[in-house]
């Protein structure tokens, strides 16, 4: 076992060393990396995905200081983080900023009794079974990481969402990206953990 561990460690250090210099991690510039995590390295320039309502993450995260998991509440309980139910949006926006066109659009949906059809931005192939819950448990709950800073953890894969309006994919989210992080942070190496 120790042999494997050592191997893994060396691999990770090597990977980190290389990628740290090769790819300056700009997106992490002003989003601090939690001390207990060796961040996964990799860049991706995702195109802008048109959404039914271009939801301003920056307003909510930056200005309103709303926690990621306030809206994406399933992240800590399920494999999927989930889009917040429309009722949650309306919880605030019944009275807040009702004059804004985006909010009015939202209200229309609400009154029609249906939810907007969002386009998926962070998508993995169907044979990859990623679980938000496990990662939150490992990096936040188990690590006693302050939940109010959870965006630093989310940011490792989702980038600095607070700087975006509509979320954009800034990390490759391919297997290499995952595996490097798993080896660096001693995640499971069992294929069946993700592929079933």
């Amino acid at each position: 076992m120790t042999a494997t561990k050592k191997m893994k460690f060396m691999v990770s250090v090597f990977a980190f060393a290389v990628f740290a210099f090769v790819l300056p991690a700009t997106s992490l510039a002003d989003l601090p990396v939690p001390a207990h995590i060796i961040p996964p390295v990799g860049e991706h320039s995702g195109e802008h995905v048109p959404q039914p309502i271009d939801f301003p993450h920056d307003r909510h995260v930056n200005d309103m200081k709303i926690n990621c998991m306030y809206c994406h509440t399933y992240a800590r309980r399920s494999a999927v983080a989930g889009i917040p139910p429309t009722s949650k949006c309306m919880g605030c926006h019944k009275m807040i900023a009702t004059d804004k066109p985006r909010i009015q659009k939202l209200t229309e949906y609400w009154e029609k009794g249906e939810s907007p059809k969002w386009k998926k931005v962070h998508d993995v192939p169907d044979y990859v079974h990623f679980s938000h819950e496990k990662h939150i448990r490992k990096f936040v709950d188990k690590a006693d990481f302050p939940v109010e800073d959870v965006q630093q953890v989310c940011g490792l894969c989702h980038g600095e969402v607070k700087a975006m309006t509509v979320a954009e994919k800034v990390k490759p989210l391919n297997m290499g990206f995952c595996v490097r992080c798993h080896e660096a942070n001693d995640g499971p190496g069992d294929c069946w953990k993700c592929h079933k």
Binding site: V49, P50, A79, I83, K117, W118, K119, K120, D126
Partner: protein, 737 residues
């Protein structure tokens, strides 16, 4: 896994859009199906979900299986508003969390691609889609105009509030013509136990029995309540290991599990039973003392005679008799191959005689526990009602006929002339999920919700000692907008006839109210009007009541059993339309999983086949896959030969279930329908169809095909896959797993 938490019904059923965590689409093909790009898939959120509904986490809800009329309890796994998997409900005393292959396939009945998705009315001579309003208007007109005695309602077994509503409708119309019709039933057994034991549905304690002698009762697959029986059977085998002897002309699944399988000549089981009884009383092995009169009557069934008639060597008959006495407590059962005769009733009573003289009554056969509320109790289907209905048709007695859960055009023998008879009916209404033969003949087709989309309550006919009502609740919102629940339709119809029903917007409301008003003896003291009672019911899925325990009497009488000489023509073979656990009476022929699942004994799939004994086949020089023409007085079918030793030489067995003319892509045009060529022979006492009394001529055709069966070799070639150990040592050491 959270099971049935407090539920505001309609909200959780909302189905999430595809994508999200919803799909598991072909993951492993060429790179094209791998979506890594952004903005390709859609993801939809709930509008305002319950707190416990989490995308990506399955929730289990309790419901009831309606695949056959055994009424097992179910748990259904729901994720993103889609029902994914059905399992037995551990709280149901009937199946204790277990299920059979048909129960597992409930989802495929529900998601079946061939469902009827909108009401259809006959215009000219084609069915055309119409709106519900139009359909209901027409229906209302017809029902309110028809005079009571010219209205008929044909259904399968009914129970619970569906049964209540049905009888309500009939009484409102003023009709008595309710024909509950099931091809696979145990009504003769019930009639006999009613007459001889004073209890139609005695509890059968397989677990208490030391030896089970079953005359063709396929209790592991198709008899009464298979899943329940299988559980009891396991107990019977474990611990002090019981012995199972199966007497039947064609090996059923139960026969396949017997310690001794005895192929009696078709239709001679009654004689054999009396022969055994004779040996027992003459040796004084009987546990209950037998009057001399009976002894003398039995005496005429001496060994040689029985041997001659049944074709079983005397030693074996003696052995069976001695088994019954040594390995008691004994349990003797009579199933389809025994009772499906012109004198089936007598054969069954001969079998029951064995039970009585072996003292099974009270030990392995216990008084039934009946459900307190009679209105909710099961109204069981049988074939005598089919006979009556067919009679009525030929006398053109009916103007309006409802069909629900029944497809007589397929499953009634052609000789009864149901199909032609239906032409004389002015207005035929089919309440159905699928475009089956009967539905396509109907004038009005009302698409039903699947069991997974619908409400209902079920009270199983055979409860195995408990008295339970099982609740059926929707696991997801209907797939199609245009389908309605059976109850909803009934309520709508009734409210046309009776103002009183206008208060119920739908069946759910009706059910909710009637549960509120449940009497205390049903709720077991709990306050039914209380919300928590309802939620408890939703969670558990079953309502256990303290039933009314009956009592058993034992009437000793020797029946005048029929012998094959009454009908058996030596040159011909006896046709055995054996029932399959799987396709059942043909209602599941449209379920791909069940079509693909091989028959348990012959291992043939996707087709029907005619089982013949090697000798019989050799005489006609037939080999596997040859197509033979099977001719009875009433018709003929063609199908392939499957040679097996597990059948009596004088019999040919074509399992029922295949050979649909309609009924969707999976059922259509596969195999032949052995029910269709049955002769109209009926048990003279109960009027039940004698399914095993048809003589057929078998002739070879030029055609042949490849017999598609699972397994390359029927023998183990000395490789120890299944190792068999003899039981006697085990018995010495109180063995078992």
């Amino acid at each position: 896994m959270m099971k049935g938490v407090k539920v505001n019904r309609r909200s959780f059923l909302k189905m999430l859009g595809w994508g999200g965590a919803g799909t598991a689409l072909a993951g492993c093909d060429m790179p094209t199906t791998v979506t890594l790009e952004e903005g390709k898939e859609e993801v939809v959120s709930y509008l305002s979900p319950e707190e416990y509904v989490i995308p990506g986490v399955g929730v289990w809800y309790a419901s009831t299986c309606t695949q056959c009329d055994a009424g097992c309890g179910l748990h259904g796994r729901v994720r993103e508003g889609r029902a994914l998997k059905l399992e037995g409900n551990p709280d149901s005393p009937l199946n204790n969390g277990k299920s059979c292959m048909m129960g597992q396939s409930g989802v495929q009945t529900h998601y079946n691609p061939d469902r009827v998705t909108s009401p259809m009315m006959r215009k000219g001579n084609s069915l055309q889609a119409v709106s519900w309003d139009e359909a209901m208007a027409e229906l209302g007109k017809q029902v309110s105009s028809v005079s009571g005695d010219r209205f008929a309602f044909v259904s399968g077994s009914l129970s619970g509030h569906q049964s209540v509503l049905t009888s309500e409708l009939l009484s409102k119309v003023g009709s008595k013509n309710h024909f509950a019709y099931e091809t696979i039933n145990t009504s003769i057994w019930q009639a006999v136990s009613k007459d001889l034991l004073g209890d139609a549905m005695p509890v059968i304690r397989y677990d208490k029995a030391g030896v089970i002698l079953s005359f063709g009762a396929d209790f592991l697959a198709t008899w009464m309540s298979p899943v329940h029986n299988a559980g009891e059977y396991a107990k019977f085998r474990q611990g002090e290991r019981g012995v199972l002897v199966q007497v039947e002309p064609k090996m059923t699944l139960t026969g396949g599990n017997a310690d001794l399988w005895v192929p009696a000549a078709p239709g001679t089981e009654g004689v054999l039973a009396l022969g055994i009884a004779n040996i027992i009383v003459s040796r004084g092995w009987n546990k209950v003392d037998v009057p001399a009169s009976v002894k003398t009557e039995l005496a005429q069934y001496d060994l040689n005679k029985v041997e001659k008639i049944t074709g079983i060597q005397g030693s074996k008959i003696k052995r069976i008799a001695s088994l019954l006495s040594e390995r008691g407590p004994a349990l003797v059962l009579a199933g389809e191959s025994t009772v499906g005769q012109a004198k089936g009733y007598e054969a069954a009573s001969a079998v029951m005689l064995l039970n009585i003289i072996m003292g099974s009554v009270g030990t392995t056969i216990e008084p039934s526990v009946s459900f307190p509320e009679n209105a909710l109790a099961a109204k069981q289907g049988n074939t005598s009602s089919l006979k009556a209905f067919a009679q009525g048709l030929s006398d053109s007695k009916y103007d309006v006929v409802f069909f629900y859960n029944s497809n007589p055009i397929y499953s009634a023998p052609e000789a009864l002339g149901v199909e032609s008879g239906l032409d004389k009916v002015k207005f035929k209404v089919a309440l159905t999920m699928f475009p089956d033969e009967t539905a396509l003949k109907a004038d009005l087709v009302l698409p039903l919700n699947s069991a997974i989309e619908d409400w209902g309550t079920h009270v199983a006919a055979y409860q195995g000692g408990s008295a339970t009502m099982s609740l059926q609740q929707p696991l997801m919102e209907p797939l199609y907008k245009e389908t309605k629940g059976f109850g909803d339709i009934m309520i709508a119809l009734l409210s046309k006839l009776d103002e009183g029903y206008k208060q119920f917007p739908d069946y759910y409301a009706y059910l909710r109210t009637s549960v509120k008003n449940m009497p205390a003896e049903l709720t077991g003291g709990a306050l039914a009007s209380d919300e928590s009672f309802w939620n408890g019911l939703l969670q558990k899925g079953v309502l256990k009541t303290t039933g009314v325990t009956g009592s058993l009497t034992a009437t000793l009488a020797v029946a005048k059993v029929g012998t094959p000489t009454d009908h058996l023509d030596q040159t011909s073979l006896t046709l055995i339309p054996s029932a399959r656990l799987g396709l059942w009476d043909g209602r599941h022929a449209n379920i791909p999983w069940l079509q693909e699942a091989p028959d348990q004994i012959s291992k043939v799939v996707w087709d029907s086949w005619a089982e013949m004994h090697p000798h019989t086949a050799a005489e006609m020089n037939l080999k596997n896959g040859d197509i033979v023409k099977i001719e009875s007085k009433s018709g003929s079918i063609e199908t392939q030969v499957a040679i097996t030793k597990a059948i009596h030489r004088g019999a040919i067995s074509v399992p029922m279930g295949q050979g649909h003319k309609e009924y969707g892509r999976y059922a259509k045009q596969t195999g032949a329908n052995s029910l269709s060529i049955l002769d109209p022979v009926f048990d003279h006492k109960t009027g039940e169809l004698a399914t095993h009394a048809t003589q057929v001529k078998v002739s070879k055709t030029r055609k042949n095909q490849i017999l598609i069966k699972m397994g390359g070799s029927d023998v183990q070639m000395g490789r120890s896959f299944v190792r068999t150990v003899s039981a006697d040592q085990l018995r010495r050491t109180e063995g078992g797993a």
